[in-house]
């Protein structure tokens, strides 16, 4: 793992921190306003701690319904950070946004405990690859996705690279808007936790 300061809360993505100053940069004023994950791990079974499974690409339907809420080390269902383009690969919500569901679960937990939370800094749909590269001062072509052996969601087969990027952006946006519109249905179709 990289970029871990041991005094920081470990969480899997932008907008999923539970405390002030606990985002990647440590400048956030409130829970839910952290700018990026404080852990990076590539995938399923490779997380070091409780609550670090990013979800979406390898795991069960139930795990995918509760992203970043794994109970133990190595039980995480997928890598962190969770990009806005990552979609759920299994279960009734296949093809919908992982980050939005993770954020919804985070908000549910905060609300259940009457704890405040703020708006996520990269917007309501999760962090893009470009956002993370800018935040971390990484080269623009750094790929922050994880687990992918099946090509990238933020891609297309168009020949011209500029048009390709535009088409990919539009496709991800469509998925983000659909995921937001169907969030209530997503929560209904998710099976309850059995453990």
């Amino acid at each position: 793992m990289e970029n871990i300061q041991i005094t920081k809360e470990l969480h899997v993505c932008m907008g999923l921190n539970t405390c002030k100053y606990q985002g990647y940069s440590g400048t956030n004023n409130c829970a839910g306003m952290g700018d990026c994950s404080t852990v990076n791990h590539p995938c399923h079974t490779l997380n070091e701690c409780r609550g670090q499974g990013g979800c979406g690409l390898f795991g069960t339907t139930e795990e995918f319904c509760f992203p970043s809420q794994n109970n133990c080390r190595y039980q995480g269902s997928c890598g962190a950070p969770i990009l806005n383009s990552r979609f759920i690969a299994q279960g009734p919500n296949k093809g919908l946004s992982v980050w939005q569901l993770a954020r919804k679960r985070f908000e549910e937990k905060r609300s259940a405990s009457n704890l405040p939370f703020g708006a996520p800094p990269a917007g309501p749909y999760g962090p893009s690859n470009e956002y993370i590269n800018q935040l971390k001062n990484q080269p623009a072509d750094t790929d922050n996705s994880s687990c992918g052996q099946s090509g990238s969601r933020s891609c297309s087969y168009i020949a011209d690279p500029a048009e390709r990027a535009k088409a990919a952006y539009a496709r991800v946006l469509t998925m983000e808007e659909k995921s937001a519109a169907e969030m209530n249905e997503t929560l209904k179709t998710c099976p309850p936790r059995v453990y």
Partner: protein, 501 residues
């Protein structure tokens, strides 16, 4: 019985040979996994599209007779043909391999409930490629081989829902074996034996079970992962398996045993009571493909294995890839300057590669890499076998920290990297591949299977630091060092895995 066959089958299924027959059924399911994975790893499913486009553009431009063509748009069309087919073939093969792992567990649950635990290491010791399905009529060789129409033909014969006649096959001549023409017929004989002789309820014993309310966590089976996803021509994701196509089944009596076996049959062969496609061969002894209309293969109701008709059976997934493969191979052959369709995305893998060939070739890193692949494959089987001796808490640890990690990361890590090595045999260059041979772990005190695996890891990292130095980097201790410690006597060392400081 020819050498290379998995087991010698008795002439009928009855209570006295039921244990042996179930072991044979498990062997059939297990044998398909390395067969399909060998082909899966031969596919370059996510190559650089711009490099591929340039290559096609250059080939089309350099060939005579293409002056009238719009080279750029044709290169684009062909590029998408290749990328989508390669990714789809890999995703569908992986979706079948995952369901074969489910079948392995279902057959093992049946054997465990009625007679005894599965002996997976015993099967692995006997499994040598090329192999054959003992008692299958007609006989045909099963190779661990790269993706090709011939290999897809073999897959179709394995999964065929109906008896078939291939003029190239040898008639089964051994009268000492139970003759069957499809795997489904073998399972029907097993079902009859269970219903007539083993009504249950059976004594409780460790099995791999489905998730249940108020039960310990059992996240053992999931149909889809990112590896079963492919993208259509518009780059929209398509999922290889439907959610309602199957799940683990705990076997407690004849009804649940039959349900488990029915699930194996339906996923493999589809719904044979409905109108479905069958395996027929042409004069060249190759399967007759289905017609392709607007890039789509047309199927019948009985070709699906799920109620919602969203997932084709194993047979029909392979029939789809075979039919599309024929279609694209013919399309590419008609255009001047192009190579064979499959050559654009399939590595030049030898059929049935052997560790001995790698050892003889003399590249130490290749030899060690292959040994590590065989060791982790054998260890996966040991871990699955161990689940049938342990309580649920231990099963969970072994499965989550061992089997999942090994399948998704460790075996695939080796499988996807070993192809960076080239070796020569009989003056022919080949891309190296996993050999899926049994790894003979030493059974000596102080030398556990896990320690032997970690020793190979250390040796490989030292032999080829460019590719493998990360293996011993403490940053990646969650990979190999974090494997659970499972012994050959099925002992699991408590509180494992332990990450080194």
């Amino acid at each position: 019985m020819n050498p290379g066959k998995l087991f010698k089958m008795p002439t009928a299924v009855n209570p006295s040979n039921f244990e042996e027959v179930m072991q044979q059924a498990i062997a059939l399911e297990l044998a398909t996994i390395p067969t399909y994975l060998s082909t899966y790893y031969s596919i370059n499913r996510a190559q650089n599209q711009d490099t591929l486009y340039s290559k096609l553009q250059q080939q089309l431009g350099a060939a005579t007779g293409n002056a009238e063509l719009d080279i750029n748009s044709l290169a684009q069309e062909l590029k998408v043909d290749i990328l989508v087919y390669a990714n789809k073939a890999a995703a569908l093969i992986m979706s079948v391999a995952i369901e074969e792992m489910l079948h392995l567990a279902l057959a093992s649950n049946v054997k465990q409930a009625i007679v005894s635990p599965p002996d997976l290491l015993g099967i692995s010791k006997s499994l040598v490629f090329p192999t054959q399905l003992d008692g299958h009529e007609p006989e045909f060789p099963i190779n661990a081989a790269k993706l090709s129409l011939q290999q897809l033909s073999t897959f179709l014969q394995i999964e065929s829902p109906d008896p078939f006649v291939d003029p190239a096959d040898t008639p089964e001549t051994d009268n000492s074996v139970e003759k069957y023409k499809t795997i489904g017929q073998l399972y029907n004989a097993i079902i009859n034996c269970i219903q007539n002789n083993f009504p249950g309820p059976y004594a409780a014993s460790p099995q791999l079970l489905p998730p249940q309310k108020s039960a310990p966590p059992r996240p053992y089976y999931s149909q889809n992962s990112i590896n079963t996803v492919y993208y259509d021509r518009n780059h929209n994701p398509v999922f290889g398996s439907a959610d309602d196509s199957g799940e683990l089944i705990g076997v407690t009596d004849a009804a649940t045993a039959v349900a488990a076996i029915n699930e194996i049959q339906h996923q493999g062969e589809g719904n044979t009571s409905l109108d479905h496609d069958t395996l027929k061969f042409d004069a060249n002894n190759m399967p007759i493909p289905l017609p392709v209309v607007n890039g789509e293969v047309q199927f019948k109701a009985g070709d699906y294995d799920d109620g919602s008709k969203k997932e084709l059976s194993h047979f029909d997934k392979f029939l789809e890839m075979y039919s599309l493969g024929v279609y694209y191979q013919e399309k590419f052959a008609k255009i001047n300057g192009l190579d064979d369709f499959f050559s654009y995305f399939v590595y030049t893998q030898e059929s049935n590669p052997k560790q001995a060939d790698y050892d003889q070739y003399g590249t130490q890193a290749l030899s060690l890499c292959s040994q590590l692949g065989n060791a982790i494959f054998t260890y996966i089987l040991l871990m699955i076998e161990t689940c049938y001796y342990k309580d649920e808490a231990t099963q969970f640890d072994v499965f989550m920290y061992g089997i999942h990690k090994s399948m998704i990361w460790l075996l695939s890590g080796v499988g996807n990297t070993i192809n960076s090595y080239t070796y020569y045999k009989n003056f022919q260059a080949y891309t190296a591949a996993l050999t899926f041979e049994y790894f003979p772990f030493e059974n000596t005190p102080g030398k556990t299977p896990k320690q032997q695996i970690l020793s190979l890891v250390d040796q490989l990292a030292a032999a080829d630091p460019d590719n493998w130095s990360w293996l011993t980097d403490p940053k990646y201790a969650g990979y190999w060092p974090a494997l659970p410690d499972v012994r050959l006597d099925h002992t699991v060392i408590p509180d494992m895995p332990v990450i080194p400081a």
